[in-house]
């Protein structure tokens, strides 16, 4: 026979077992943190796709997370720097060639520049080190699949396109969302303008949906207006029409100061470089497409 005390305990246990936990979860669903996370492929992509928006939200009290998800082995040509042919006698002594630095140095240089850019916004830099599909070995470009690539094994994780098929690699991004629980995530476009941009966007899409499934408080996923969004179908259905318009006029100086930090890529020319690169920056309004809204 059960004692009175044991009977009470058993009753409590049975009640707990059949308690509708989803109700408990629904009642305790945590809101995302006041945090904006911009998920850029390379060291300057955060600034290029959403620099003004990033600066504005940080000014509004949001925590800013500046993510660079590739290992940046694909290019660091010092001849682009203003010191190459315009400086006084401390510059290259009359060299006429193009001198990319090696893969290890490229990672270091661009990471240091990204840290400086992140500091301009007062944000936290994060580096995920997904591999790019080629790297520089001295002056030689070595694409994936070559003997050089196999031997050198550039430091980093899987290349981004492979990472989208691996739960282990998706979890790297998922863990970032768990850590910061951002209200706003901005990244490149699906099917974006570059291999690693589009694949990185899909990687974030997968991590974001997994976070939602796991009840991690994440808010909205915005994407840059590029890639598939510019295709005829997306335009005709309205799926490629931006629905988020952020006025950033007052934050352009911050955006371009950050861009100026990427000397190895744009020579420290910031806005002039972006304009000269035929990438027309959205000077006053930055626009995005809401791909997921988990706040409703």
């Amino acid at each position: 026979m059960l004692s009175k005390k044991n009977l009470s305990l058993l009753t409590i246990l049975i009640l707990l077992l059949f308690f509708p936990h989803h109700l408990l979860q629904a009642q305790s669903k945590v809101k995302p943190r006041k945090c904006i996370l911009v998920f850029g492929a390379h060291a300057d992509d955060v600034d290029e796709i959403a620099g003004g928006t990033f600066a504005k939200y940080i000014d509004l009290g949001y925590e800013g997370i500046y993510v660079c998800y590739t290992n940046n082995t694909a290019g660091c040509n010092l001849e682009r720097t203003p010191y190459y042919d315009k400086g006084p006698d401390f510059t290259v002594s009359g060299a006429t060639g193009i001198f990319p630095v090696g893969a290890l140095e490229s990672i270091q240089i661009r990471e240091e520049e990204a840290r400086q850019a992140a500091a301009v916004y007062g944000s936290i830099p994060e580096f995920l080190y997904f591999r790019e599909t080629w790297f520089w070995q001295g002056r030689k470009q070595c694409p994936i699949g070559t003997d050089e690539f196999h031997r050198f094994q550039p430091p980093g994780r899987q290349i981004v396109s492979v990472a989208t098929r691996s739960s282990k690699d998706i979890n790297v991004v998922y863990d970032l969302l768990v850590k910061y629980q951002p209200e706003i995530v901005i990244t490149h476009a699906l099917g974006g303008e570059k291999h690693d941009h589009g694949n990185g966007a899909y990687l974030m899409y997968q991590a974001f949906t997994k976070a939602m499934e796991q009840d991690i408080p994440v808010g909205k996923l915005w994407m840059d207006v590029h890639g598939w969004f510019l295709q005829k179908d997306a335009q005709e259905t309205g799926r490629g029409i931006p629905d988020v318009h952020i006025e950033v006029k007052d934050y352009l100086p911050v955006k371009y100061e950050a861009l100026n930090k990427h000397v190895s890529q744009n020579g420290g020319f910031g806005r002039d470089y972006v304009m000269g690169n035929k990438t027309q920056p959205k000077e006053v309004i930055e626009e995005f497409i809401t791909v997921i809204d988990n706040t409703k």
Binding site: L78, T81, Y83, G87, F90, T91, V92, S93, G94, A95, G97, F99, V101, L104, Q108, I109, E112, Q137, G138, R139, K140, E148, R151, F152, Q153, P155, V263, S264
Partner: protein
């Protein structure tokens, strides 16, 4: 018979002269006073095998230490190139490495390694036993951002290129911070970071200013003494012209040796920085197969060179 013998000798003489002439033509302007004595190493991760060897050092007994960079370890050889021991693996625990770069040996035979991507310098006994380390990522005294080349003076003061802080830091043999000097404008400029360092016989500090294609000499406290060398590349490049000079070392008699990596040669200068001689390392201009990177001089004047792409050590005798 005598005539025939004389003719034979004359033919031999002419043949030898043609050989010398051919060799001179092949080696361009580099007037060699060195010949390759031997070479060892191949790509791999077994004992004696190498993956992208970086810097190299020789102790007072002639033992050779090589930074086996992509195997994240140090290998020790005798002066004949026989494998003795190795230590280290990829990681950030004591005794582990994350892309080690520079190496130096003090008067007692202790080995110092710049553990580049761990932002620290580690000290080991000559047997590879971990002794201590210093450094972490940062800008404070004693902190480092990617230490590149390191060198010791005759009092065992350690000089380290603190690359992304654009400065040279000095430590005592117990790795206690002593002082620092340098700035972006002084030791390179912005991204043009010096890569290797050596201490001259008079105590001056020699830096290979790679992207500026020149060598810079400073006093031990950082006052600029001189710069020498200018850009020149290819078979037309003369003595004293560089294309991305990298490794640098000083021999016992004060000569300065520089790895001129895109001219695929070693250049020798006297202690005043005047060009003396040079020699091709691989003999061919092929930046996909050869890449002379690190250099060290032994007590007997033998010069050791790491070929970063051929994954081997080359030995040159005077």
């Amino acid at each position: 018979m005598k005539n025939i013998s004389w003719m034979k000798n004359q033919s031999l003489f002419i043949f030898l002269n043609v050989l010398v002439l051919l060799f001179t033509c092949i080696s361009g302007n580099a007037q060699s006073d060195r010949v390759m004595f031997k070479q060892w190493g191949e790509f791999g991760d077994g004992p004696g095998q190498l993956k992208f060897p970086a810097m190299i050092a020789v102790d007072n007994s002639g033992h050779i230490y090589v930074v086996d960079q992509h195997n994240h370890r140090i290998q020790k050889f005798d002066s004949q190139g026989n494998f003795l021991l190795m230590w280290g693996k990829n990681g950030d625990e004591p005794g582990e490495f994350n892309y080690p770069y520079g190496i130096a040996v003090d008067s007692r035979g202790n080995v110092y390694v710049s553990d580049m991507n761990n932002h620290r310098i580690q000290k080991f006994s000559s047997g590879g036993e971990y002794l201590k380390s210093t450094g972490s990522y940062g800008t404070e005294d004693g902190q480092l951002k990617y230490p590149y080349g390191i060198a010791l003076d005759e009092k065992d003061v350690l000089y380290a290129i603190d690359a992304f802080n654009y400065r040279i830091q000095k430590f005592d043999s117990e790795l206690k911070f002593l002082s620092e000097w340098g700035s972006e404008e002084e030791i390179g400029f912005r991204l043009y970071i010096p890569h290797e360092i050596a201490i001259a016989a008079d105590g001056n500090v020699i830096l290979s200013d790679r992207q500026n294609h020149r060598i810079s000499v400073f006093t031990s406290d950082g006052a600029l003494v001189k710069r020498f060398g200018k850009y020149g590349e290819g078979k037309e490049a003369g003595g004293g012209q560089f294309s991305e000079p990298h490794g640098v070392c000083v021999s016992k008699n004060g000569d300065i040796f520089v790895c001129d990596r895109y001219n695929f040669c070693i250049q020798k200068f006297n202690s005043s920085g005047e060009y003396q001689s040079g020699w091709k390392t691989s003999g061919v201009f092929d930046d996909s197969k050869h890449f002379p990177l690190g250099i060290a001089a032994g007590p007997d004047g033998t010069v050791y060179v790491t070929d970063n792409y051929a994954h081997c050590i080359q030995v040159y005798k005077p």
